[in-house]
């Protein structure tokens, strides 16, 4: 990788990385902040029981919330975390490759004595760095936030960190295919559109599959089936198979992206 390019690209994207990281951390703190009032509310578990089973299952809320980590996992990692990180991965991936190919600025980057593989690898590492910064900031906010804001509530730090680890790896894969489309296509909006559509389809399949027994086969086709924040937070699933699977898949996607970019014609 090329350090000059890496430093410059990180600087260009620093603003968006830090705003996603701060946004995600603040939102998580807000969720943690409202936990005590919800946990002490007498009618909550009754209310949860009155809701349709399938609806609760779709958002991983069946069985009520016993711990603060379950609550955070269900309320934050189940939806908003996914939305925030998806937007970051899709946008940044399309900006790092397809935008430069689309606008022609890639010509300047390639008109230096650096191989295309090296350039693509550098851009991939910029994307992964951003993802890690946002993921780790969020995890830290969760650990510190529960420590400061919650008293006498059981908090499973280990399983909470597992939620974050699997979450980051899920987005390692999502950023991986976004980066692949970004390296493969000449049009920034097309790259963004295709990877966005794929993400929405995956998410939709997971949601429908969980809500309806008839379509439960869909769950297994969706990437999101690897990320069950509430179950991971409760410690009821073994996370290592998912970690291995996501890591290998993500790495393969990035490798293909770099290879494709080094072999193709560029309209610069």
């Amino acid at each position: 990788m090329n350090m000059t390019l890496y430093a410059k690209m990180l600087k260009v994207h620093a603003k968006s990385i830090s705003s996603y990281a701060i946004g995600s951390a603040l939102y998580l703190l807000l969720i943690i902040g409202i936990y005590p009032s919800i946990a002490d509310a007498p009618g909550l578990n009754d209310l949860m029981e009155s809701m349709p089973e399938s609806f609760l299952a779709a958002f991983g809320m069946e069985g009520g919330f016993q711990h603060v980590s379950d609550f955070i996992a269900g309320e934050y990692y189940g939806l908003l975390y996914v939305v925030i990180l998806s937007i970051f991965c899709l946008m940044t991936a399309s900006q790092l490759m397809a935008r430069h190919i689309d606008r022609g600025s890639m010509a300047y980057i390639l008109a230096t004595p650096n191989s295309r593989k090296k350039i693509a690898l550098t851009q991939a590492i910029v994307l992964i760095t951003g993802l890690l910064i946002i993921g780790i900031t969020t995890a830290l906010a969760g650990v510190i936030g529960t420590e400061v804001l919650i008293e006498d509530k059981p908090f499973e730090a280990m399983t909470f960190l597992n939620v974050n680890l699997v979450g980051i790896l899920l987005f390692y894969v999502i950023s991986g295919y976004s980066f692949l489309f970004s390296s493969l296509l000449n049009d920034e909006r097309q790259a963004l559109g295709i990877s966005g559509l794929l993400t929405i389809v995956f998410y939709g399949m997971d949601l429908i599959g969980k809500m309806s027994d008839k379509f439960d086969w869909m769950v297994h086709l969706s990437l999101f089936s690897t990320f069950r924040p509430v179950e991971i937070a409760r410690g009821s699933v073994d996370v290592w198979p998912m970690i291995t699977f996501l890591f290998l898949l993500g790495t393969a996607l990035y490798a293909v992206a770099i290879l494709v970019f080094s072999k193709r014609d560029l309209p610069l």
Binding site: T4, K8, G104, S105, Y108, L110, A111, P113, P267
Partner: protein, 295 residues
């Protein structure tokens, strides 16, 4: 130094470049002429290693432009035809980025170029005018004093004063033995600097020739205003190629023999004389024939 051997690239729409062959020796300034869409930029993209030829090959300093693309870049400076920089930085940050990616240590020549081209490097790129971006691009192409400089339409967007400074810089580098390939759609733009030129039409090389021979072959239109209408009509009887006459003005085409033109006009009362701006097809009618549409 630059060697193109039957370079062919056909796109899915049937367009492309076909069997492009020419070579440029070390220290030569070579012009690459053609109207928009003739295949100039496509050829240059192959030289830069952005595209893989369907057939044939190109080499710079003996290295294949596709396989050794990264290595060749050590010797090349490049100005793209469409200037588009990276967002979110100013001119200096951009030059530092490109310089840093080259591992460039010396900045004296870069600073000299910035001074001579007179622009403010601290301007954010998105606020730059086209001419200013062109200057930044020229600095990026020249600053590391490469052995080969490839320029795609280098003077577009530059005012006449800057064009002159640009030509000075090219001539200085030529003195040092730098090889140039410069594309353009206008002959006048390259005739002052180039030794030889190739003309490309619809993806095929029409001719590769010495610039003086090309100057002989170019056809120029002069707008001559005479003292009276009678004289304008009388000029038709002369040996000159009179294209049209309106009132006391005549349009006269001259190809090569300027002395004859001047002698013939000596018998007339000439009030004013002007040269028509012409596009490449009009200048080199004999190469483009009549089939090229005037676009």
């Amino acid at each position: 130094m630059i060697e193109l051997n039957g370079l062919t690239k056909q796109f899915s729409n049937g367009k492309g470049i076909f069997d492009v062959t020419f070579s440029i020796s070390k220290g030569e300034v070579f012009g690459f002429l053609g109207p928009n869409g003739a295949g100039k930029s496509t050829t240059i993209r192959h030289l830069m290693g952005f595209m893989k030829p369907s057939k044939g090959s190109a080499a710079i300093d003996g290295m294949d432009t596709w396989k050794d693309a990264a290595k060749i870049q050590e010797k090349i400076g490049y100005l793209p035809g469409e200037i588009s920089f990276l967002d979110g930085m100013d001119g200096m940050a951009f030059l530092n980025l490109v310089g840093g990616m080259r591992g460039m240590k010396q900045t004296a020549y870069r600073d000299e170029l910035i001074h001579r081209l007179q622009f403010d490097v601290k301007t954010p790129i998105r606020k730059m005018s086209k001419g200013m971006k062109q200057k930044v691009g020229i600095v990026a192409a020249f600053m590391h004093e490469p052995e080969v400089i490839i320029l795609d339409e280098p003077t577009s967007g530059l005012d006449p004063l800057m064009q002159r400074i640009f030509i000075e810089i090219v001539m200085e580098q030529k003195e040092k033995g730098t090889t140039f390939l410069m594309s353009s759609h206008s002959f006048s733009e390259i005739e002052r600097t180039c030794d030889r030129a190739a003309i490309i039409k619809d993806g095929k090389i029409v001719v590769v020739e010495n610039i003086h021979d090309l100057q002989q072959k170019q056809r120029r239109l002069f707008d001559v205003t005479f003292a009276s209408e009678e004289e304008a009509i009388r000029i038709k009887q002369s040996s000159l190629d009179v294209v049209s006459v309106t009132d006391n003005r005549a349009e006269i085409a001259v190809q090569g023999d300027y002395n004859q033109f001047i002698r013939a006009l000596g018998d007339f009362q000439v009030r004013n004389m002007d040269i028509h701006e012409q596009n490449l097809e009009e200048v080199f009618l004999n190469y483009y024939n009549r089939e090229a549409d005037p676009s």
